[in-house]
């Protein structure tokens, strides 16, 4: 069975500082990994995904994520946080071994960027 964990419910960071939102996963085969962001009263928006190739994936709004197979992690990062980055972030995984199954989402991490 596939699963994903976001160990932090809340991350606080000062504007201009680098940010990291953590995600670890468990799959039987190889993972397809996704990050989504949810702003208040909105649906989830796609940020980036890892399918294959380079372990460092660049996405929307200056975000990037690094796939680490040995640590089964896919942490979301940004070099310099903005107040407008404050939102709820979800990591999701699909196990390639299981076929075209629905994405499994983590519980989300609330990012608060303080001016």
């Amino acid at each position: 069975a596939q699963s994903v964990a976001q160990p932090e419910d809340q991350v606080n960071v000062a504007e201009g500082n680098p940010l990291t939102v953590k995600c670890t996963y468990s799959v039987s085969g190889n993972p397809y990994l996704f990050w989504y962001v949810q702003y208040p009263n909105r649906g989830l928006q796609f940020l980036l995904k890892y399918i294959t190739g380079d372990n460092l994936v660049k996405g929307s709004y200056g975000f990037e994520a690094e796939f680490n197979k040995s640590q089964t992690s896919f942490h979301l990062k940004k070099p310099s946080a903005l107040v407008s980055d404050s939102a709820l972030y979800f990591c999701a995984v699909r196990d390639t071994y299981s076929g075209n199954t629905p994405l499994v989402f983590g519980k989300g991490t609330r990012l608060s960027v303080i001016a």
Binding site: D9, F34, G43, L44, K49, F90, F105, K107
Partner: protein, 114 residues
Amino acid sequence: GAGVSQSPSNKVTEKGKDVELRCDPISGHTALYWYRQSLGQGLEFLIYFQGNSAPDKSGLPSDRFSAERTGGSVSTLTIQRTQQEDSAVYLCASSLQGQNYGYTFGSGTRLTVV
């Protein structure tokens, strides 16, 4: 359409009533998903439609929940005899067929059972 459209955006219903939630996916997206988002619980998978295949209903929490997708497009999620624990945001998403595709989400329906 340009995005995934869900209606209504908000629904308040009395305990025991039935409700219907609608999702209009992106044209050409053959896969359609329903998730439920409860406070502190993340996204809970409910049901998945893919083309003409039988839907994956493995996430439906009880037999009070059902969903259909007509003509491979619009989907309706029905909750019968609503309970207070059904209060949540119900999210619909659609995607192209294939493991490497992510989802496009609608804005959700916030259901409150009083």
